[in-house]
């Protein structure tokens, strides 16, 4: 197998890894913020808000990210909105994975046993104090593993933004592939780059999962 392309074009792959990591981290930050807000609305908002957030999550779960990326990318100019591509990509992915993150946080808060609420109230805390002092610290350790798993999905899905022309790891790989005749090693190297980013995340997720069961 010919690996000489790594000497000439390895720099591009490294740059691609950097862009993919930066993109993933931005999306993780945005979707976590959106997810936290949505989870709070879902748990403590009024009935109409709860239904609205639940339907948003249900719709997002049934539609491919690629459709939203393509739809957003081609629709925004018609609406007169002209933003730099990275912003568009981060916004769309943030909104998409915000729905998944909201489920992560809602699930973690709902997984704290009901008697914890009653116990908190009976000690004399107000509802908000129970949430802040009793429930959230327990929910935090419960949500770490699902949070890491969702982050893993986010990293893998940043590959889709290459379909609307955002330069990242897959684009780097394709550019190198287009300049050589022996393409297989290039794509295998591309897969190895993703593995190098993703494996630590999934390893950590599994370790934490094993530990969180005694909560």
């Amino acid at each position: 197998m010919n690996t000489r392309f790594l000497i000439g074009a390895g720099r591009e792959l490294v740059l691609g890894v950097g862009v993919t990591i930066a993109l993933s981290m931005s999306v993780i930050v945005v979707s976590t913020s959106i997810g936290l807000v949505l989870a709070c609305l879902r748990l403590f908002g009024g009935k109409p808000l709860q239904v609205a957030v639940a339907s948003y999550a249900a719709v997002i779960r049934g539609v491919p990210l690629l459709i939203l990326l393509l739809g957003g990318y081609f629709s925004l100019p018609y609406l007169g909105i002209d933003l730099p591509l990275p912003f568009v990509v981060i916004a769309i992915m943030g909104l998409y994975f915000g729905a998944y993150m909201s489920e992560v946080f809602r699930g973690a808060i709902a997984a704290v046993p009901r008697p914890q609420w009653d116990a908190g109230r009976s000690v004399g805390f107000r509802r908000f104090q129970v949430l802040w002092i009793v429930i959230l610290p327990q929910a935090r350790s419960l949500c770490v593993a699902p949070f890491l798993n969702t982050s893993l999905v986010i990293v893998k899905n940043t590959s889709l933004v290459s379909a609307i022309g955002e330069w990242e790891l897959v684009t780097a790989g394709r550019e190198i592939g287009e300049r050589t005749t022996d393409v297989l090693p290039v794509y295998l190297a591309l897969a190895a780059c993703y593995f190098a980013i993703c494996f630590p995340l999934s390893w950590l997720a599994r370790r934490v999962e094993g530990r969180a069961t005694d909560v």
Binding site: V63, I67, L70, L152, S162, A163, G173, L184, L190, F195
Partner: protein
Amino acid sequence: MDLRLILRILPDLLEGLKLTVALAACSLLGAAIGGVAVMLARRSSLTLVRRMAIGFIEIMRNTPIMVQIFVIYFGLPSPGLYPDAFPSAVAALVLQNSAYIGEIYRAGLASVNRTQMEAALALGMLPRTALWAIVVPQALRRVMPALGNQAVIIIKDSSIASTIAVAELTHTGKLLLDRSAAPYETFLAVGLLYLALSLTTLFAMRLLARLLPVRA
């Protein structure tokens, strides 16, 4: 927003939807069978087989489906294989989802209490009969919701086959956009079709779970 336009492009989109259904159905079927192989290898008593299964699962879990499709479609011509676009997409979806579904099966089997097996053996059943008559039906019932979710993930991931020009729903949408220059209508219609397909699949899987002999 032009609703008449949606009606006009609908027949073309339905053609694309057919191919999406074919793609997802082939992949789900393949992965449901491949998952059994992965699960058996993962539970094998031979260390080497078990390690290989773990390696396979890790590689599939930690690389994007898009890159796997590219390795097969663009990469295999290097050693002289020229797979068509549709089989390449199915192969990538089957490989990745066999890993996930294998783990779903394994978790399902592990979730059946050990005492069920012991009780069956105490009654004089052969280990094979106990496994197939007692443990597997219970595991199957618990596996169904996770399988339903995985089916929806396969439907959504099948959209990535559009990047290697399989003429499925997403690709059809992109081609129609080139002619109509109406992005909201086109992608709204495509999105709704995907949503309808996902919801129908979830519903069908739930119905299928009802038909299983053992209730949770």
